[in-house]
Symmetry: C2
């Protein structure tokens, strides 16, 4: 069966300001020592599984040019620009409808465009297992990351390790849970029955569309109208009219939590959701003082800092646990334990209408 | 008697990097909320005591243009550019010789160009007292700052508060002492007999030249040759030849510590020697969180920081006790308690020959 992919690239990535901007979000940035951006690396990682002609990019009109520039190997008609943001369920539904229209049916890898994978060989090995399960069972399959800490920044997946699915390394999902508080996260970690929700899915287009028809019937009806119009003269108009009528809901809440036939593959392939500047410490090599530095930097007695230089030299003196990000028109200096507050800077800029800096 | 002034403006001010540079040292910067640079403020402060035509600026050739640009009211022939750096005694000797040549004799105010005075009225009042003492006694007079802390960054002047000089508020100096260690500084402060050495002097040209003749006779002989050549066709050649032959020595060590007739006026006029970025906290108003901020800054939960912005916006998030100085080609981020280490950045830049940043 044909393997296709749907890469989700509509996010804004405010937590990487000032490098990420409204017109250049995180997935289009290079945050590692590599010379490839996050979305380029995402495509690179699956080229041994799917042909570029079979990879779809879900994004919005504002990023169409960026996608074309960064991923010239992807056919323009595979760039699905949502007319309005409607969360992940309509977006994935459209992708599945596009796959059904073109291929009849096919395996779909649904992947975020802004995650990091340190061991791509392992990642592909897990995906191949998942693809086999998806093809043979009609199930919805997701990847669960073996947790290494009681992290409150992720959703969790509870599974039953004692009841295997019949497929090697694959388990039936008991439930999806939202981001927990710290005490709950600690209990999840201690129980051994919880995995981090990676937001990566593997299924046949027919499987996810069948579940949408059952659990989101109004959306499904609109999707069939969109599907019929694909390639026709009224494609754009129909898309614009019907997509905006869809109920805005996440795939987790709208489908995954309601479907019966959901499997998870617990996996470890050096995954990181790159949720804030702090991720750079996990993704990049540090110097002897624990600093992760990129750019023209002179360092005097500084440790555990994260520095992304711009065009000018940065001298850091006696700093600890500080993030410095210099860009052409904005400079961020942030205590590491306040990285979650960066969005407040954007709130201030928005309030005073300095949109050129957002 | 005519009042003249000699403003010492040859320093390099490395501790204010990256705003201060080899070609733009501290005295030519504006570090306060004022729109005047430090040397401009220094001249402004004494205009009620001395005419611009009677104010001399001691500097070096590299800063001649800066002096002319910032102080257009000073006659070009009053800008004394040392051919080689020879510490303060030869520099002041040359100034005194120039005064004697032009005026026969006159009061000289010898003032650093890079100090801050918060109460200029009080400052002038103290200077007027000192001028009277200098004129009537032929003494060397200096200003001693009433210490407010056991500061190890200043030299100290010991005086005998029980033996007044006969002039109101003026005391005989017992000795000059170098920068002490913290224990010694604490003892000095507790004794009530020590003042901070301000480096500001008031005397007649004839008084200081007489002391130089006695304590630095070789230098004095060279000074008389320079003095004779002033205004003549060989002025430059003689200066170049003789000045470099002079013994390099400070006025404190070469003259003040050896002279018998030295008085000090204990004073408080909001003085600061502006020795590092930390001085900005004393010189400028702080916001409610104790931050002293200049420039386009968005602040989230930050306190006790010193920020000097450049052309771009600076977002500070969760920072404490941090110095940020942004300029066109260099950015400094420095922990306040490491401000003394900024010179190490310059050592690194010098070692790798990046002279454009010095």
């Amino acid at each position: 069966m044909k393997t296709t992919a749907l890469i989700m690239a509509g996010g804004r990535g405010e937590r990487f300001w000032p490098r990420s901007r409204m017109n250049l979000p995180k997935q289009f940035l290079n945050l590692t020592d590599s010379d490839r951006t996050m979305i380029q690396s995402t495509v690179d990682r699956i080229l041994k599984l799917a042909d570029p002609a079979d990879i779809f990019i879900a994004t919005n009109e504002a990023y169409r040019t960026l996608v074309q520039e960064q991923l010239p190997e992807i056919p323009p008609e595979n760039i699905l620009c949502e007319p309005t943001a409607r969360n992940t369920a309509p977006c994935i539904g459209w992708g599945a409808a596009a796959v059904r229209k073109r291929y009849g049916d096919a395996i779909m890898l649904v992947l975020p465009s802004d995650h990091q994978v340190m061991q791509p060989h392992l990642f592909r090995s897990v995906l191949r297992n998942a693809m086999q399960v998806a093809e043979e069972t009609d199930a919805l399959v997701t990847l669960g990351i073996s947790p290494t800490a009681p992290d409150t920044g992720y959703g969790y997946i509870q599974y039953d390790p004692e009841t295997p699915s019949g497929f090697s390394g694959t388990f039936r999902v008991q439930r999806f849970v939202e981001k927990p508080d710290l005490d709950t996260a600690r209990k999840y970690l201690a129980s051994g029955e919880y995995l981090w929700n990676s937001g990566m899915f593997i299924w046949k287009a027919s499987s996810i569309l069948r579940e949408m028809e059952e659990h989101l019937p109004e959306n499904y009806a609109l999707l069939t109208e969109i599907e019929q119009a694909i390639g026709g003269p009224e494609e754009r108009e129909v898309l614009k009219a019907k997509f905006s009528q869809m109920r805005s809901i996440s795939i987790d809440y709208g489908v995954m939590e309601r479907a019966r036939n959901v499997y998870v593959l617990p996996a470890s392939f050096g995954w990181d959701d790159v949720g804030s500047w702090l991720a750079l410490e996990r993704m990049n090599a540090a110097d002897d003082q624990g600093n992760v530095i990129r750019g023209d930097v002179v360092k005097v007695g500084s440790s555990r800092c994260i520095v992304q230089g711009g065009e000018k030299i940065i001298a850091m003196v006696g700093l600890e646990d500080t993030i410095i990000v210099d860009t052409k028109d904005a400079l961020l200096v942030c205590a590491k334990d306040s990285a979650g507050e960066i969005k407040k800077v954007l709130e201030v800029l928005r309030a005073v209408n300095r949109t050129e800096l957002l």
